[in-house]
């Protein structure tokens, strides 16, 4: 039932460029799709596994730069770029994840945060590779089998296909035995150990997969923007992913998807100034953490349980 609904929604989303000719609205659609994928990846590591990772911002940036550099500097095409972005990010996640996950969860949060900062600094200061603050402009639109995805409307299909594939993959992962093991690690790690399961490989795998997906999403998004520069690593993106996950409900797959689509579209449509938008984001974050710490999905679940209890009485 849920899956049938999701399939219908996916097909409806695919039709967006047919419904409107406005590049602005289709552009918001692309942002919504890509941000939702990145938020779902954050949900995998934070919502399911219980590890708050700020490194997503770094992976997002690495993904963007790797994809752009594959095309511009190394003469590859967009598809290979996205693939390289995913693979390289998974490798980086394993390298920084191993020493960090051995420590406590406090150190993990702060390590990932510093990693995100490091990536920003490299993007700005390693001028020979990244061209520094100027960035890499005029990224060519991708093409496949002689068909060029040149306009925003055509690129929307790429973003759509990408996010549907990634979300399907993440859904399969989260609803599998692996997903349940991750939730168990979050809820009670000693118990997981007592069951004879070593948490480390699961945590590392979740971190690497979430990194790979975020990186690929970053790659797709740079080609929508057509430029990659250090602003691509603005903390704004991390805040957006976090707010999507928290409002949707950390640990709830569909809640985060719904929040991703809604929250990417809303601020654009309401047209706040950049400062005011960030202030509103901050207020939403603080209020949500106090009023509904488990997001809309968690709130609905609690209400459902309360009603059930009432009915049983």
């Amino acid at each position: 039932m849920k899956l049938a609904l999701a399939l219908l929604a996916a097909l409806a989303l695919a039709a967006l460029p047919l419904l409107t000719a406005s590049n602005y609205i289709v552009g918001i659609g692309i942002s919504a799709l890509v941000f939702t994928v990145a938020a779902a990846a954050l949900n995998l590591i934070y919502g399911f596994t219980g590890l708050l990772s700020f490194a997503q911002l770094g992976f997002w940036g690495i993904g963007g730069y790797v994809t752009a550099l594959t095309v511009v500097t190394f003469g590859g095409n967009f598809w290979w770029g996205v693939l390289w972005a995913a693979l390289l990010n998974a490798a980086v996640a394993l390298v920084i994840g191993y020493p960090t996950l051995r420590t406590n969860r406090h150190a993990f949060v702060i390590m990932t945060l510093t990693f995100a900062l490091l990536v920003t600094l490299i993007a700005r200061d390693w001028v020979e590779l990244t061209r520094g603050p100027l960035g890499i402009p005029n990224l060519p639109k991708p093409s496949a089998f002689g068909y060029a995805f040149a306009t925003t409307g055509q690129f929307y299909w790429v973003a759509w296909a990408f996010s549907m594939a990634m979300l399907a993959f993440l859904y399969a992962l989260c609803s599998s035995r692996i997903g349940r093991t991750l939730v168990a690690i979050k809820q009670n790690e000693p118990l997981v150990r007592a069951q004879g399961i070593s948490p480390m490989p699961y945590k590392l795998a979740a971190f690497a997969i979430s990194a790979a997906v975020t990186g690929a999403a970053g790659g797709v998004y740079t080609f929508h923007l057509g430029i990659v520069d250090p602003l691509f690593l603005d903390f704004y993106y991390m805040q957006t992913f976090l707010i999507i996950v928290i409002i949707g409900g950390a640990g709830s797959f569909w809640g985060v998807i719904a929040a991703g689509v809604a929250l990417s579209a809303l601020p654009e449509l309401l047209r706040f100034s950049a400062d005011l938008r960030m202030i509103i984001y901050g207020v939403i974050l603080v209020v949500a953490m106090f009023v509904m710490p488990s997001g809309v999905a968690g709130w609905l679940r609690e209400r459902q349980l309360a009603r059930l209890r009432e009915w049983l009485r």
């Binding site: 949060v109 390590m111 974050l285």
Partner: protein, 295 residues
Amino acid sequence: MTVDAVYLLQLTLNGIALGLLYALIAVGLSLIFGVMEIINFAHGELLMLGAFAMTFALPVLGLLYWPALTVAILAVMLAGLAIYEVLLARLKPDEFERSILITLGLSIILIHVMQYLFTATPRMVDSQYGFDGVSIGSIRITWTRIIGAAAAVAAFAGLYAVLRHTQFGRAMRAIAQNREAALMVGIRPRVVARNAVVLAAGLCGLAGAAIAPIQLVTPYMGQFLIFKAFALVIIGGLGNIPGAIVAAVALGLIESWIGGFFEIVWQEAAVFLIMIAVLFVRPDGLFKRGGMRVG
């Protein structure tokens, strides 16, 4: 490459000043973590508020350095008190991730409200000392830098005395070492946590006020410092105050030396590489924590 002694001395002095600045922030973070087991993401914004308070107080008080410094520190302590009462007091000791997300929200709000009110244009402020300074050989150091560094050292000495010898500080250490036992002997965690937050805010206010006459003041100035301070707290061992000071001064020196001889990217990357290396060898930080130690 020949190493010029004067150049090296200059780098060293700059490094110590930078390290003391890091230490003022990292010590506050460590103090709050020791007592409440939470991380205050908005700590850098307290520094920014201190710097802004200094830029507004100095002209009003006729460029007098010390009264303005006092006003700035008190203002930031007040802000710390408000933050504790409104937000942090609602947190339970084990809600680490929640504390980060809440204070992250607060940090976003503070930065953008300040930017909205005062724009992102960097501000400069003059003090009674202007750009006067002392010369040692061919090196010149301005008074504002010397006073800033001396004030930091004095603040650490004061903090040590308070934590070591007063009931106020002993209660903080007691909570950090054994919460239940501290409760049993009648120490109130809420009051102690409030004191710790206000004290940490004061240190941050001092840092902000001291650097306001030295560098440009912008709403974003706290952000980059706070990331490094987080790393320092990890390197020094979470909740370990001397560890944080040692790590901070060492990092200031290392960054300054690297910055003097290598490309700038290495200077910025140093803290991260050091942190990775330290965590590989000692997952609990260089100076392992056992309760909150002050000496």
